[in-house]
């Protein structure tokens, strides 16, 4: 069961929707914001809270890209690899991040500070190549900017 505190917050969100279950995505965002990831226990608690089978919660968690079932780094790089960014050098940016942090997409550094995923279009092609780092969009990426980001978040 979710704690009474959590329930208060979750109820506020659920109240906006005609059907309780429709609140699932913002509810999951809310819990992930606090805990950093979605665990099987969270899925079970959520299923109980919404009155749906656990598999329905798990389907959603595994379907949507922004929900993490594994821990991500304190600073998470999500780098776009789709057409507009690729045309402006995203492949080099991705290769450079992999090299500097010794990471493959999906991995986290041993000290837990950085992780990397390669994503599709972030909707900021006007500043290609683009990444989203811990919610913030950063564009016009090159080796120098990547170095700055790594330095800032070491």
């Amino acid at each position: 069961m979710f704690s009474a505190e959590y329930l208060k917050e979750l109820d506020k969100i659920t109240a906006k929707y005609e059907q309780k279950r429709a609140a699932l995505l913002p509810l999951l965002h809310c819990v992930q914001e606090k805990e950093g990831l979605i665990t099987p226990q969270t899925e079970a608690n959520m299923a109980e809270y919404l009155g749906v089978p656990v598999v329905h919660v798990h389907e959603v968690v595994s379907f949507y890209h922004l929900f993490h079932q594994q821990r991500i780094g304190k600073y998470h790089f999500s780098v776009c690899q789709t057409t507009a960014c690729a045309l402006r050098g995203s492949e080099d940016v991705i290769a450079y991040i992999k090299e500097r942090l010794d990471l493959k997409p999906g991995e986290i550094t041993p000290d837990g500070k950085f992780s990397l995923s390669v994503v599709e279009c972030l909707g900021a092609c006007e500043m290609a190549p683009v990444m989203q780092g811990n919610k913030e969009y950063k564009g016009f990426l090159d080796k120098q900017r990547i170095d700055e980001i790594i330095e800032k978040n070491k």
Binding site: H29, T83, L87, E120, E136
Partner: protein, 419 residues
């Protein structure tokens, strides 16, 4: 040229109500609710020739008229702010820099279709837009533009800002509805159409952010004015997004019917570094690619359809002559393979198959039959799926193969893996 949807872009604090009010803010909503009837509003929007600016270009007023008013179920308006079509970033600007323009459009649209509840579904990555939109909604409630009995009429309206969670397919209107209902984004079969069976099984209009943002100006200045700005059957301006190999990537508001050449060279600065244009995507990654001889096409829905492509989301991606078209096809194929929701076998299996096939050709270990098989694989996805994603794979990737076949052949000549 008079700017409509982008008239507040770049102004300091343009997202704040206090500034929106300084420029006729909420006067169109007041006019619609106090001086017009819902059928009059729908009629005005029909006459304006406003077409859906998310990608499909369906006439907005016509869509609204499909809502069966005799149906006793509540009606819903859903704003599609899932903006995920590669090459497209215009809605982000509206959400962040003119949220009240969208809110006012929502009020008028809800009035027109007799809906009292609107959801704004914003892609989960757009953290700024989500915050700003929620802030604007809160301001609108405090000022009495949302809530019970607005403008002294009996009309109630509520807006909920709802986050997505990272899935391109949720930009497809029925997948969006599934997602909004708390499920994975599997598209629904149409018919029934959302206007009859939509959110929670109720009549629903789903429209793109930019489409609804055009509504207040149409009410303020009239359908005729809007229709004249564009071209026949495609009224108004639209926000074109230009990216890729251009000097000035960005959003450009221009009349529907402006040529592609003019957008790229007169507005976006042309191709830098002395290079030449080789190919251009005219309307988001799903749109069949165009070649330099097609640059004089007018950028409106009907003209682009006539030359075998689409105006789509207005996402123009420019490729210069350094671009390897097999590589570009691979990037597109990879995108579709990653974003396939998995519901339909031809797409789930076919998109991956296409990607691996093109990747083998690009990387130089194509098998002898790979290029000959490719059109067959590509063409058997579209038309065999529940939603248009399958059609997009076929049209988009297929266009690279048909228009640049020699590049595919070159990769294969003498580099076929003989195992």
């Amino acid at each position: 040229m008079e700017k409509i949807v982008s008239r507040h872009f770049g102004l300091v604090d343009s997202h704040r109500l206090i500034n929106y009010l300084k420029d006729n803010g909420y006067q169109a909503a007041r006019k619609a609710l106090t001086q017009m009837t819902p059928p009059q509003v729908i009629d005005e929007v029909k006459k304006s020739n406003l077409r859906g600016l998310g990608g499909a270009g369906f006439p907005a007023g016509t869509k609204w008229s499909f809502i069966p008013q005799a149906n006793p179920k509540p009606k819903y308006l859903v704003i599609n702010a899932d903006e995920g079509e590669p090459g497209t970033f215009k809605d982000k600007y509206i959400l962040e820099q003119d949220p009240h323009g969208l809110i006012e459009g929502i009020i008028i649209t809800c009035f027109a279709i007799n809906s009292h509840k609107a959801y704004v579904y914003i892609r989960g990555e757009y953290v700024n837009a989500l915050q700003i939109m929620q802030g604007a909604v809160d301001e609108a409630y405090r000022a009495g533009f949302l809530g019970k009995g607005i403008f002294g009429t009996g009309f109630d309206i509520d807006i909920v800002v709802h986050p997505g969670a990272g899935a391109y397919i949720c930009g497809e209107e029925t997948a969006l509805l599934e997602s909004l209902e708390g499920k994975k984004g599997f598209p629904r079969l149409k018919p029934p159409f959302p206007a009859v069976v939509g959110l929670f099984g109720c009549p629903t209009v789903i429209n793109n952010v930019e489409t609804i943002s055009c509504v207040p100006p149409i009410i303020n200045k009239g359908a005729e004015w809007f229709a004249k700005l564009g071209c026949e059957k495609n009224g108004g301006n639209r926000l074109f997004c230009v990216s890729g190999h251009v000097a000035r990537p960005g959003v450009y508001e221009l009349p529907n019917g402006t040529t592609l050449r003019e957008i790229i060279y007169d507005h976006a600065g042309g191709i830098p570094n002395g290079r030449k244009l080789k190919a251009v995507i005219p309307g988001g990654i799903s749109a069949p690619i165009l070649t330099p001889d097609q640059l004089d096409v007018k950028m409106d829905f009907d003209s682009l359809k006539a030359i075998g492509s689409m105006a789509g989301s207005g996402g123009i991606i420019v490729m210069d002559d350094t671009t390897d078209m097999v590589w570009a096809a691979m990037i597109a194929a990879r995108f579709f393979a990653h974003e396939s929701c998995g519901q339909c076998s031809p797409c789930r299996e076919g998109s991956g198959w296409v990607y691996r096939n093109v990747k083998r050709i690009y990387e130089g270990h194509a098998r002898p039959h790979d290029l000959n098989n490719l059109p067959g694989i590509v063409n058997n996805i579209g038309g065999n799926t529940i939603c248009a994603f399958g059609d997009a794979v076929s049209m988009s990737v297929g266009s690279y193969v048909s228009k640049f076949r020699s590049e595919f052949e070159d990769k294969i000549k003498g580099r076929v893996c003989q195992t």
